[in-house]
Every structure is written in structure tokens, then in C-alpha cells.
Symmetry: C2
Subunit: 359 residues, 2 copies
């Protein structure tokens, strides 16, 4: 928790959190651990009681909140924001929904609209509901703040402060820019993962036995919940549809390139390489700046832990680690990503401790 | 190295490896470490000298090989196989190319065709050339053996033995089935990754700042070499094109579903979830069988090593680890994948050692 800002905090009054799922409850826990008063509300009495029991706040409103945070499912966000603006005429209001233009459009010029500013924390786990909550959920994550043209600067400043105080990195961008951004970096990749995974339904076990870590990486995010994604994608249908249409046009060109086998295919593959290099890695380094050290690990309890201990004691800074599936064999392969200058040292350190390692 | 088979080894004579790149040199090193005689050949004198210097074999043929392994770029494989069948009339011949039907077609009914059987080890690193080689490259990887209708059973048995002796898991499947399988589990996912990454070229830094581990996973494999992939994809154009055409049809339906926002979108997302569950994970478990423990790590040298040591000493069996990029912040998030029953114990162990961990 970043507490250095507490001295100059513009958050002096209570926060009302409407919606005690994973996100709302986590925010309550984080604000409580900073000493703020938090009120909780949820139409689901069980969720409300759980969130209160976890210490995320109190399930009653004993005074006017300074900020109302709407943490309900995307499809219910707009009416809940309008209700909050009306019920608490002196409060600022924000939400956590992942698509914004539909909400702003639905609110129109409702009374008090200048007190609303959107927010979107890029955080979550594979769990849902209050029992999955953590006061650390937002630590180290991005949190987009999305003012509409009439948002009051004080509303923006307050939400920025709250997001930063729970450990997030804030990025202010307007509603449309935000929705195009998440279409590009989140919604399109999700659908591309689903499109790839959907082709695997009729695959035979033999075919799947030839798969490697690449297939697992590309299809991983397709495994997340359909109901939430149905709401997200539908609410950003225009931006997602435009990108998906562009992909379809790329596929049409690609099919011609595949048939001809000419240089256009190589040019297209090069476009992909350039795009990949733009994806932020740790410290903003691109994945191509890293070397991979491969280590053989027997499939016995304790082996991976022993490797981690030995790697930890090698003195080499680890950028990333991947564990390859092992096809039912007794031996797996672990990939350790390090800087190219450190790779040989790590290989030497691991071989010196009895591991089979190479780069 | 699996040495238990040595007593009954059908590999009694020398192996000639044609092509001293990463794969050929690695195979030479692995066979040499099992005590087999290995001859090396390459039209590139520098690669040949390097491979010999590394101990992968000798750069001269002092007797007839029992097996010739063609380890040249895909486009050169068929003529090299034909040359080997003609030059060594008593040798079996295999290759390591990743697409097979074009090779078998080009060979036709060349003299000695029954002595050829294809092979395809699912191994590689981000490096190329002999200096990237390792005798462990094939350990724990799948190796497809692809007989054509006239392949001699003795040829199949010998190549199966060689692949198993260097640590690979062998899977025998016919040429067409193999090519359809790699189109599905490797070539299509590669192109889907490229298609996603290619859309990022014009992305702004602000847009990319909203990206998370999902985007990095989906686009990672698009970063690999274009020249090799151009050859692979072109040689499997029919199978890849058929799948890509099916994806384009899926996109057309998806665009309609996005507009309507009806249940067809949820059904499509469910297809993706089911496909993802079929992707082999460690031990053949699906990723959905795993729980994720999140740990906060300060961006200081030594912190990640300390976490690995403490995780290693927790006694919990680790399935996978991912390190989230940190947006330039001082704190990153590490995701540790464990079995659901072990997650709470790991959280407790890490919190007990001063870490901020949650699930």
C-alpha cells in the first residue's frame, strides 16, 4: 500500500462501494487498510455479508460518502451511476467497468454528470466474488481514468488519488480512446485466443500430443468466463468489430500469400515480429532482449522447488520463467528468461549444482 | 539421456548427420554422449568446423553409415534425402523437417524410397546455428515419426529408437495426419499470433500501457524468425489455408454475433473454453485445474531470487510461474500456479516469510 500520499490526501470522507464482488471487495479491503471509512452495498445479501465479514467495510451508510464507486457487472453500471449521482448530490462517482462509451451515452446529461468520471483497473484473478478479494489486487496494475467532456477536474483528481493510493499506476485518457485501446490490447487478443482454441474442439489426442508451449500461450486467455466476456465484447462491439474486420481482411491477403509462397508472406510475418516487439515486457524491455536458459527437471515433488532455490542463489536476475508440459514423461523442461549477458553464468551455476542446463 | 536401451540397441553403426545447424549439431552431441559414431556434413564449412569443434562428430565419412539424418532447411530436404538414398544404398534415411507431404511427393518412387522414414522433433530454442546446440535439446520433447506407405518397418524402428535414446517421446503417424496435426497445433496458432501482433504496429504507448499478461502470451510466438516460418507455412499451405479459411468463416459469424449481442456470442466463447481445456498442460492436467497465487515483488535485484527460494522451501509443488510486467513501477506481480488444495498453504508460507501474497 502506498501511504506516502496520506499527508496530502484529498480523500477525507467515506467511500461507498456499490457491488461486493471481487473488485469492489478488494477495493474496500485496500481502502480500509489505509484507514479510510468504507460503506458497502450489494443487492446480493450474501455477498454483502461476506464482504463485511472480510473487513472490506460496513454494510450500512452512516453519513454522506465523498466518493461512490460502482463495482457492478458492466450491463448494470449506467443505471447504478445515475442512482448514485441522484442519491448523493455532494459525492463524486466513479465505476470500474471495462468499456466506457456506452455508459457515458446512457447517462446523457443526467443531473450531476460533472461529478462522474470513469475508471478501469486492469486487475483481476481467475476467481470471482468477495471470497477471491485481496487488498493487494491493484498493486502494480494499470488503472485507466476516463473523463468525459464535462467531468469536473476535482473528480478526476480524487479518483486518480484513490487508484494510486491502492498501488495502481494511473493513466488518464478520454472515453473513446480508452475503449479503442482495450479493444486493441485486450478484447481482440481475447477473441483471437478463442478463435484458435475453438478449432481444437475436434482435435485428436495424437494431434494434441504434438503441441508445445506456443499453443498453450496463445489459447490460455480463451479459458476465462464467457458471461463476463459476452457483456464486455457486446458493449465494445464497434471498436472490436472494426479490428476483427481488419483481421479478416489480413486473412484474405494471407490466404493469397500462402498460395503464392512469395515475399508477401515474409513481409506479413515481419509485421508480426515488429508488433510483438512493441508489447511491454518487464521494465519495458522487449522479449527479444532476453536469453532463455533451458533446464531439465525430473517430475518428482521437490525438484522444481530445488531448482528455484538454486536459481535464486545463483545471483542472476530472473526476468521470466516458463515450465513446459512434459507429455507424461518423467522429465520436464523449464525455461528461465535472463539477460543475454547473464545466461552463461546461470548455466554454469546450475550445472555446478548438478542440473542439466543449456542455452 | 536414456541409456537403459543401450543393451538392445538396433543402432550399431555410425550416423551421418547432413546439416550442422542447431538441430543437427544437437543430435550429434546427444548421440556422441551415448557413445555412437557420428559423421558430420554441411555445405557451410564454418558450421561444419564449429559442430566438429563442439564434439558433435567428425567432419569426414570413414565408412558406410547405418542411418543418415537430413537436418537441412525445409526447402532443401527432399533433394538431400534423394542424394543420401543414392549415395548410401545400405543406409536408412530420415529427416527433421516440420512438414512432410511435399517431401514424400517430391521423392516419388526414387530408388531406395523404402529406406526413408520422416521424423519431426518438436524442439528448438530461440537461437540457431551450431553454437546454440545442446545434447539435451530433445529431452522431454515430442518427436513425430512419419512413415509413408512404403517405409520399411526396420526404418521406422531404427528412427524410433534413436529419437527415444536422445530423450524424446515418439509418436508414429502418417505423413498427411502429421501435416494436418502441426497445421492445427503449431502453424495456425503461429499465424493467429502474427495476426494479433501485426495490429499493434500503429498502437500508441498509452494504448500499450493498458496491456496485461494476456496480450504478451498471445503475441509471444509471433516474435520468431520469418524466413524459417515462410518455408514451413508455404510447404503446408493446403492444411494451413483450410484452417485459416475456417477461422475467417468463424470471424464472419462472430461479427454478426457481436452486432446482435445475442446468445450466439456466449456459445462461441464457450467453444473457446472447451478447446482450451483440451490443450495439454503439465501431467495432462488442464489449466483450469490450477489455482493462482499472486505475490508482490519489489523491482530490486535479488527479490525474485528470494521469492524463488522461499517458494522452493514451502514444500508446495509448483505447476507454473508467470511474472507480470510492471509498467515501470517499483513493484511487480508474480503468478504461481499450484493445485487448488495447495494454494492456501503457499499463501500462508509466503506471508509467514514477509511476502504480500494472495489467491
Amino acid at each position: 500500500m502506498t501511504t506516502g500520499l496520506a499527508g496530502s490526501s484529498p480523500l477525507t470522507g467515506p467511500v461507498l462501494i456499490v457491488g461486493c464482488g471481487l473488485m469492489g471487495t478488494s477495493l474496500g479491503l485496500a481502502l480500509r487498510s489505509d484507514g479510510h471509512d468504507v460503506y458497502l452495498a450489494d443487492i446480493d445479501e450474501t455477498h454483502l455479508a461476506m464482504a463485511e465479514g472480510l473487513g472490506a467495510g460496513v454494510a450500512a451508510t452512516s453519513g454522506a460518502p465523498q466518493l461512490v464507486v460502482i463495482a457492478v457487472p458492466p450491463d448494470s453500471a449506467a443505471p447504478a451511476i445515475a442512482d448514485a449521482l441522484s442519491a448523493w448530490p455532494d459525492a463524486f462517482v466513479t465505476d470500474l467497468a471495462s468499456v466506457k462509451h456506452g455508459i457515458v451515452g446512457a447517462l446523457g446529461d443526467v443531473e450531476g454528470i460533472e461529478r462522474y468520471v470513469g475508471g478501469h483497473p486492469m486487475a483481476g484473478t481467475e476467481r470471482s466474488g468477495p471470497l477471491g478479494a485481496s487488498d493487494l489486487l491493484f498493486e502494480g496494475r494499470a488503472w485507466a481514468i476516463t473523463p468525459h467532456p464535462r467531468s469536473a477536474p476535482a473528480a478526476v483528481a480524487l479518483v486518480e488519488h484513490v487508484a494510486a493510493s491502492v498501488g495502481a499506476t494511473t493513466i488518464v485518457m478520454d472515453t473513446e480512446e480508452h475503449d479503442r485501446a482495450v479493444a486493441l490490447v485486450s478484447h481482440l487478443p481475447h477473441l483471437m485466443s478463442v478463435l484458435t482454441a475453438a478449432r481444437l474442439e475436434p482435435a485428436t489426442t495424437e494431434q494434441l500430443a504434438l503441441s508445445g508451449p506456443g499453443l498453450r500461450d496463445v489459447t490460455r486467455i480463451a479459458g476465462s468466463g464467457s458471461t463476463m466476456w459476452q457483456q464486455i465484447l457486446t458493449s465494445n462491439a464497434d471498436a472490436v468489430g472494426a479490428l476483427l474486420g481488419a483481421v479478416r481482411d489480413d486473412i484474405d491477403r494471407l490466404l493469397v500469400s500462402l498460395e503464392s509462397g512469395d515475399e508477401s508472406l515474409t513481409r506479413f510475418l515481419d509485421r508480426g515480429r515488429k508488433g510483438t516487439q512493441r508489447v511491454p515486457g518487464k521494465h519495458g524491455t522487449s522479449p527479444s532482449d532476453q536469453a532463455i536458459v533451458f533446464v531439465q527437471v525430473a517430475d518428482r515433488p521437490g525438484e522444481l522447488q530445488r531448482l528455484m532455490t538454486d536459481t535464486g542463489q545463483s545471483g542472476v536476475n530472473i526476468e521470466d520463467i516458463r515450465i513446459d508440459h512434459d507429455l507424461g514423461r518423467e522429465v520436464g523442461v523449464v525455461e528461465v528468461y535472463v539477460s543475454p549477458t547473464a545466461a552463461d553464468h546461470l548455466v554454469g551455476a546450475l550445472v555446478g549444482r548438478g542440473w542439466s542446463a543449456y542455452r
